[in-house]
């Protein structure tokens, strides 16, 4: 069965781009437009990896990360943001990878392969 990625980003254009690009890579992709929605989806669906934007209205990515790691401590989370210096915020240290948003998606795709490829 295909591994399923949950993309969490408040910008619709980016959600769709990620969905198409990652589906081309062979993954199943689910979308959530907010932190709250992402937690609902995680309860209902089986998800193998979360791609998480940090800056979102309402519940932000750091908070979502905290809740995800509390409940599903082995579920990999990749943080995705416009600000590289979030790396220094200890709230983000629990993530499995940290990626600065870039129009070149090579690094993101490679990171996903590294994480999901290793999992049984």
């Amino acid at each position: 069965m295909k591994k399923r990625i949950l993309v969490v980003d408040d910008e619709e254009g980016l959600r769709l781009l990620y969905k198409e690009e990652l589906e081309d890579e062979g993954w199943d992709v689910e979308l959530a437009a907010s932190g709250e929605e992402s937690l609902d989806k995680l309860e209902k669906d089986s998800i193998d990896l979360v791609l998480l934007d940090i800056k979102m209205p309402g519940m932000d990515g750091v908070e979502v990360l905290r809740r995800v790691k509390e409940k599903w401590k082995d579920l990999p989370v990749i943080l995705c943001t416009a600000y590289p210096h979030y790396k220094h915020d200890f709230g983000t240290w629990a993530s499995d990878a940290y990626i600065t948003k870039s129009s070149d998606l090579t690094e993101l795709k490679q990171t996903i392969r590294d994480i999901l490829g290793k999992k049984p």
Partner: protein, 409 residues
């Protein structure tokens, strides 16, 4: 005319010459007028000696301390002393003054402002000289003029010093406020521009993949992708420049840091036929630094130097210790910086290069400032020299400390 001398000294006072020159001329005029062989203005220096600032003297004056010799006594007493070295001269009795060997008459007139004495006008004559009442009055007037000369120059110097200090402080303030404002702006820009850019660039790449081979639109999309990559590169530079970057300080060796930064440039150096002159003082140069960040700072400085020498030259990297500071100097032979741009080179977005982002030097500057260091630039030899000073890590300094400044945006 008896008063000519006063007029002449007054003319000196309003002339544009430097103080020392004015005083030299004034003492010469006075010595001639009063028929003394020597005339000098002595001012108290910071070591408690009365230093001759201007003199018309056949022989050098000995160093006088306060209360010593005729000038020293006139200074402490605050009143004119006139001695004639002859039996029965009460003023001369008990005074020892090696400056008066071979002289018969000496006159010391304190230069007094209200109750504060700042110096002495000292006259010596080999012959016996008795001043007429008129000459004494003129001497008094001339002494006052000399005092005014000295005082006005002090006031002017103070004024210049305070003014340049103020100017320096103002420049520092302006530049730090500019940095803060830019930090806020950059954070917003990073978010508001990076997301749409990702969207445009990402879809352009998808479109490119979906076009049939040979389609002319492939080239357009290629161009779009490259341009978006360029904007993203600039964005990364701006974000690095943000004020609230965390600095992780560890004791590290400055010699090594610069060597490590240099490794990146091996290819470029070879391409541009640049000779590297690495000079380093012996012994370790421990500084408290964030190695990654300092590397970025040195990268920028070295890249800047190399860009100025595209047709070859000498890149000099020097590391040494100067007292409490570890000093790194990056200099090139690329022609130097146009003096009219000197004040702007650390300003964000200022660049004289066709493809420069104008962020290299401001980034280096902000990183060094975060390390409580200084960066200085000057033209030297055939190029520009950047001098970085960082405090040497003391033995008592903690081995590692983490500094978080401000919260993430």
């Amino acid at each position: 005319m008896e008063y000519d001398i006063i007029e002449q000294v007054s003319e000196l006072a309003v002339s544009g010459s430097p103080l020392e020159e004015k005083l030299e001329k004034a003492v010469a005029l006075l010595a001639d007028y009063l028929a003394f062989d020597g005339c000098a203005v002595l001012l108290l220096d910071e070591n408690g000696y009365m230093r001759s600032v201007a003199a018309k003297c056949p022989e050098a004056l000995p160093p006088y301390r306060l209360g010593q010799g005729v000038p020293g006594l006139a200074f402490t007493g605050g009143a004119l002393i006139e001695v004639h070295k002859e039996a029965g001269d009460a003023a001369w009795e008990g005074i020892e003054d090696s400056g008066l060997e071979g002289y018969r008459t000496a006159l010391a007139y304190p230069l007094k402002e209200k109750e504060r004495t700042c110096g002495v006008l000292f006259l010596r004559a080999r012959a016996k000289v008795r001043l007429t009442l008129l000459k004494r009055q003129i001497l008094k007037l001339a002494a006052m003029q000399l005092l005014i000369l000295v005082k006005s120059s002090e006031v002017l110097n103070d004024h210049h010093r305070v003014y340049s200090e103020l100017l320096e402080m103002q420049q520092k303030l302006v530049s730090s406020e500019k940095l803060l404002a830019l930090g806020d702006m950059a954070a917003t820009m990073a978010h508001e521009i990076r997301n749409p850019l990702l969207s445009i660039g990402g879809y352009a790449a998808r479109l490119k993949r979906q076009l049939p081979p040979g389609s002319p639109a492939l080239g357009y999309l290629e161009q779009m992708g490259a341009e978006i990559g360029r904007i993203e590169k600039i964005m990364n530079g701006i974000i690095r420049f943000l004020k609230d970057n965390a600095v992780e300080l560890k004791t590290d060796d400055l010699h090594c840091m610069i060597d490590e930064a240099m490794e990146l440039f091996a290819d470029e150096i070879a391409v541009h036929c640049i000779k590297v002159d690495r000079r380093s003082s012996g012994g370790p140069l421990p500084v408290l630094a964030d190695r990654e960040q300092m590397k970025i700072a040195f990268d920028n400085l070295i890249a800047n130097a190399i860009q100025s020498m595209e047709k070859g030259g000498i890149l000099t990297l020097e590391t040494s210790r100067a007292g409490e500071f570890a000093v790194a100097k990056v200099s090139d032979t690329g022609g130097g910086i146009d003096p009219k741009y000197m004040g702007y080179i650390f300003n964000p977005f200022f660049t004289t290069k066709k493809h420069g982002t104008g962020l290299g030097l401001p980034i280096a500057n902000s990183i060094i400032m975060r390390h409580k260091g200084t960066i200085e630039v000057r033209n030297e030899g055939h190029g520009a020299a950047f001098i970085i000073k960082l405090p040497v890590a003391g033995a008592a300094a903690p081995n590692s400390s983490r500094h978080e400044t401000g919260e993430a945006v």
